[in-house]
Symmetry: C3
Amino acid sequence: MRIETLSEGEIGRQASGRLSVGTRGQGFIEITDAVADWVSGTGIRSGLLTIFCRHTSASLLIQENADPDVRRDLLTAFDRLAPRTAAYVHTTEGPDDMPAHIRTVLSGVSLSIPVAESRMTLGTWQGIYLAEHRDRPHRRDLIFHLIGA
Amino acid sequence: MRIETLSEGEIGRQASGRLSVGTRGQGFIEITDAVADWVSGTGIRSGLLTIFCRHTSASLLIQENADPDVRRDLLTAFDRLAPRTAAYVHTTEGPDDMPAHIRTVLSGVSLSIPVAESRMTLGTWQGIYLAEHRDRPHRRDLIFHLIGA
Amino acid sequence: MRIETLSEGEIGRQASGRLSVGTRGQGFIEITDAVADWVSGTGIRSGLLTIFCRHTSASLLIQENADPDVRRDLLTAFDRLAPRTAAYVHTTEGPDDMPAHIRTVLSGVSLSIPVAESRMTLGTWQGIYLAEHRDRPHRRDLIFHLIGA
């Protein structure tokens, strides 16, 4: 088992960006195309992209972008892993709030993706999704950071 | 859906740091202020911060820093997701060890947070926590890496 | 609580690599040694390593590398967290596919690990694993990115 070196070089640049997404309640919003456009627009051809979600009840994840049923089953899975009906202490913000916090911890708020030839090195079936875990629509802020050359 | 570029510039510096935290058994220890102080002290104004937990039964997570009941419910959720009472094969280190490993996998050991104007780009309610998943007190080592300009 | 600075310095280099791993169905494949070799071979002595898994039914995780029973119990835990027998809508790719997607979301596809003195700053018991969540053997692509000096 031996890792093959693809490229070596100098670096010296960074760029940062922001995306504000209006959600429509629980569900997934694909942001892959917007991220791809921004990455190629920075002029940084190779490096490291980081995406960060500034919330505690919305998260970031990479999943299959082909069959929408995958996201439907993921929602059901989150419901089972962090059910609304559990006996929570923190209930002041509604019955959907604490499950949303737990689902955010399980799926995470930061993603790191290497960039090569001005493109993210995503696999064929990988899409990047903002996951809204609250019932009501929210405005969600994502921060992007790209470092490289 | 279009990402707005916030900044572009050169980079050329990095800094690394270490924090040793004494835990008091299962629970969350907030490290946000210590991290914020270190980031601003490095003199690196914009870039990328990475935090890494060097353990397999303690993890790092970002969650609400307002109501302490959120952390209480998170502990209960971890108990349900990785119960102490399941039929584990690996029991030599005690009944709390294998659940601690599973909870660590579910919450993760690395965090990546963009930095702008000498501050982490955390959202209003986001706090950074070291999660101790073992029953007894432990000494936990965290490594910090900041790259930027 | 105060973070101790370990090092400060300039950066200017990056390297990227690729590893193709043939899996033999559900289970964990340790890649720690291959990663350590590649990192030291790049000549970059301090910086940040990122590992990215280009799949939606295989993931990356850090866990104990001592007792193999830990990985056995982890498999059982994944089976309980995302059971094959749940009522999934997405079933066209077989009964192991949707659970594999859920397990990938729960464990994640990217890892960030600081590097110092040409070595990853892993803890004593930490090993890096590719987790195959499908029943049948697959070829899995991992991308590596190292930035530093």
